[in-house]
């Protein structure tokens, strides 16, 4: 049986990245779009850990990943607060119904 190596991790990360982009582009619900953003961030985090383990061999990739996790959490907090605010003002969080700013 083949060992699980760098290429497998990179494939999973690339798939996550693609799914994240797809989610962002197709979802109408603001919370759904934010979930897609989380997938993209996780793809990058997985890449960092994999490259660190197989290529660089130190800890900086892991450290970077910890920072990504922390910042993803803080960004999600801000984003959800803004979503709440949008709901209060518009009574909707569907992206296609937010049209008060248009040419």
């Amino acid at each position: 049986m083949e060992e699980i190596g760098l290429i497998h991790y990179l494939s999973v990360a690339a798939a996550l990245f693609g799914l994240g982009l797809f989610t962002v582009m197709t979802r109408k619900n603001a919370v759904g779009i934010l979930l897609g953003v989380e997938l993209i961030l996780n793809a990058a985090a997985l890449n960092f850990v994999a490259f660190e383990h197989f290529v660089a061999g130190g800890v900086s990739g892991q450290v970077f990943t910890v920072f990504i996790i922390v910042l993803a959490a803080s960004e999600a907090a801000i984003a959800l607060a803004i979503v709440l605010q949008v709901y209060r003002n518009h009574r909707s969080i569907m992206a296609d119904q937010l049209t008060s700013l248009k040419n």
Partner: protein
Amino acid sequence: METRTFDNVASLAYFAPELGLIAAVLLLVVWDLASPARLKIAGLVVISLAALAWSGGMGAYFLAKDAGPHELFHGLLAFDRFSNLFRVIFAFVTGAIVLFSVPPRGPGVAPELRRDQGEFFTLILVLSLGMNLMAASRHLLLIYLSLELVSVMSFVLAGFKINDARSSEGALKYVIFGGVASGIMLYGMSWIFGITASMHLGECAARIAALTAQQGKVPEVVFVGTACMLAGFGYKISAAPFHMWTPDVYEGAPTPVTAFLSVGPKAAGFAVLVRFFSDALGAGSASPAVATPWPVLAGCLAMATMTIGNLSALGQENVKRMLAYSSIAHAGYMLLGFSVFSDAGVAAIAFYIVTYCFMNLGAFMVVMAVAEQSGGDETLSAFRGLGRRAPLVAAAMVVFLVSLTGLPPTAGFVGKFYLFSALLTAGGAWRWVLAIVGVVNSVISLFYYARVLRAMYLEKGERTEPVAVRPLLGATTCALAVPTLLLGVYWGPVYDFVASSLSMLR
């Protein structure tokens, strides 16, 4: 001079400007809670301005002393003339925004305008700190962290008018777009890290140079990683195709925040873009042995950005939205200088940023002064007859708009002149195409700027009584108009100073 790397303790002396900003942020939070109501806003303004004066003053002191280049915190941050020049620029911009955000006083002013000012000034100062770090980062981790620091603060500031539907909608679009852009940038960074096994830009450069020499071309992985990272940088400077958030956010956000976003983070984005390309990719090296794809990539970005920005600005009725599109176009002009990858190009960008600070901040300040007197109306109709109703402010607006168009005798003309001269000195058919597109775009921009001029001087509005502009806004507007004119006729010392500050690209 040889670059020295300092450890954490030795770095602190060179980190003093940012330490001052951090101290001021903490002080602002305490002052907001503990101060008497009557002195509150005055205190907030004084603390903020003092911290910015410290930060900018230290930057100027380092520049005068010709300190550096060093590397701080084991190579995380660069300390060189480039970062010090941007410290001065950011301190100036943030100081203008602080003056700009002082809420009106007296009877008849809506109380919500004077609410939450403590948070507002705190966020502005944190943003300024983030921009300083952006211009200095020399490590992938620091690039990401400082970019996120600036982004997250901008999201909150864009949605600061919490009961305004347009403000919160703009903030939501901003947070979604910012999140996606920084995610794509991170993914690109992970590939750069994967192929170079290092996060330090200098070590990345050495490894990429070795690989390029070995393969005879720039490795595909580096190209893909850089293209992904351009999403993050491009969104910060609002370059096409990452500009979609710009008009909505700029229209919805409070006007001081709009002015700030259109100048500060954009300049910081250019700083980090230039540093990444010259330090990590070695794009500025004198004679690259192999052809690199970067000049063509940057040139295409520049052309798309200015064309889209200018064409979209043509039909806008809302002046704030029009200025948002115009700020996209100006990012395009600056990208022209970037696409040359030479000392002259970088000097031209930096000088353009200086002139752009004056003219764009001034234009937004006039929009704010006018909107304040017309019940929040930011459309062209609020500007009708302004030439008679508020002659001084209207005259200042003429200076700013002429300068934004790039006509002599204003700072904008000189800035554009240096951008185009850097482009044509480098030579080649591709550069000529870029320059011609740039000139055509400048002509297009005259149409929409002239619409505001026509509304101010040739059209009659429903209201004819004089506009009572607040003294603080009027004085700051004039203070910005004077250098806009002055730099148009006597720019030599400023340009020399800026150009001599940028010996980074070698």
